[in-house]
Amino acid sequence: MNDIVIDIEQVSKRYALSHQHRPDSLKSWLRSMANRLARNDDQPKDEEFWALNDISLQIRQGECLALIGKNGSGKSTLLKILSRIIPPTRGQIRVRGRIASLLEVGTGFHPELTGRENVFLNGAMLGCPERLIRQRFDAIADFSGVERFLDTPVKHYSSGMYVRLAYAVAAHVNADILVIDEVLAVGDAEFQKKCMEHLQTHLRTGITVIMVSHNLHAIRTIASNIAWIQGGQLFESGTVGSDILQRFEQT
């Protein structure tokens, strides 16, 4: 099929759980190197932890994929790899189009900068030319609902304000793919509704969305497909119409 925009191929992510504390100073690093050179094997071996294990998924244009799963199942790790924040240990992801990511609260905002300055910084980071941001600045401010605080450093913002502004920027940069990690849960009901409506309109214009959410109601409203991740593996996937959500609810 040629309408696939994201092709996740056997992606795995390994973390080392060191029981000894990690060398974070030159001294401890030198010591561990010296130990290794002296074949001093009394150091406990690092335990491996696979946050993601052999995940394969394909996402088509216009799809809204919701990742579900318990805390620590690897959903956010997958989004981080997709957003290029961390690299996969194995496997690869192929992407067509520009991704705009909203990961966690305060996504990529600089606390010392004002809201206005952060809009430009964030826009540039999402690959949007400044001239375009300038054009849409009023729309962004209006959508965020924090106009009054645009000249206040964002460190004074509440987490709700943070998210509203961050979402407003991401929504206006013309990305082809939106990656959203649970952030919308921070906003109030009114703002959540606004975002949902906004996402729905965008989905109709051909944008692709990947989201992590624990809000099953939100998922039922906007998602078209579900991927259930458990223990770093793809447990089940299907359309929102299938009974995956019901079974997930029962667990």
């Binding site: 244009q61 992407v95 189009g97 400044e130 729309a139």
Partner: protein
Amino acid sequence: MTPIDTTSAVIPHSWRTIDGHAPTLPAYCRELYQYREVAYVLIRRDLIVRFRQTYFGLAWLLFKPLMLMLAMSFAFGFLAGFEKNHAAPYPLIIFCGVIPWYFFSNAVPDSMNSLLGHIHIIQKTYFPRAILPIAAVAVDAIEFGVAWLLFALGCLWFGYLPGWQIALFPLFFAQLIALCVVIGLLLSVVNVQFRDIGNLIPFLLTIGFFVTPAGYTLTRIPQHWQTLYALNPLVGIIEGMRWSLLNGMDGFPLIAVASSLTITVVMGIIAVRHFLATDADLVDLA
């Protein structure tokens, strides 16, 4: 009220691959160019912050180098008695040493701390991370560039006219900036992993001032020590700047310039390779 983008998404045909491999240099440079606006925003922000709420505002750009030049001329020229036997006015000689040194000693720690200082951004959004150390150097470089206006004023004051050699000045200027970027790329990554160097570098810079011909000239160093002394890459740059701006002052410092160029290039290769290899893993390392 919901804003709708007039351009509906047209999916590009080109695929981009995200995997664990280090990017190639050309690919990384292309990406740096794509994200150049991030650098512009960061540079503008730093400049604004630096002069916001200052009474003298931009006058600081000339005031600081003026004070440095006067204080150093007093200390080295008058107190230490180095002022004699020079073809050019001593304050101008000092300027060519102290101002590059001042830039270097600011740019190195600034770029070293750039990744760590923006770690909360790096952890939440992607852009080529080399932008941060480069932007940090750029901010100091702008201040450094403006300071040369004072040199021009100094030339007028002393009625001194630089010779044809001035044509080569931009090369030394560019090399100094390149050196700072190279050191910044290297140290900023190391600083994320080993915070020790955050303490070490300011200390080394304090020592560095005395083994750099900032307040004196290369001729003060005994002949048989000069080759060893030239291992400091700043020696070639500063003496080269003096040669280019002060009518070929003490003759062209060939050994120092050659050594400085070699060290800059070798460090450049190491720094770029190391940065490319580590860039993707930065968040996991922090």
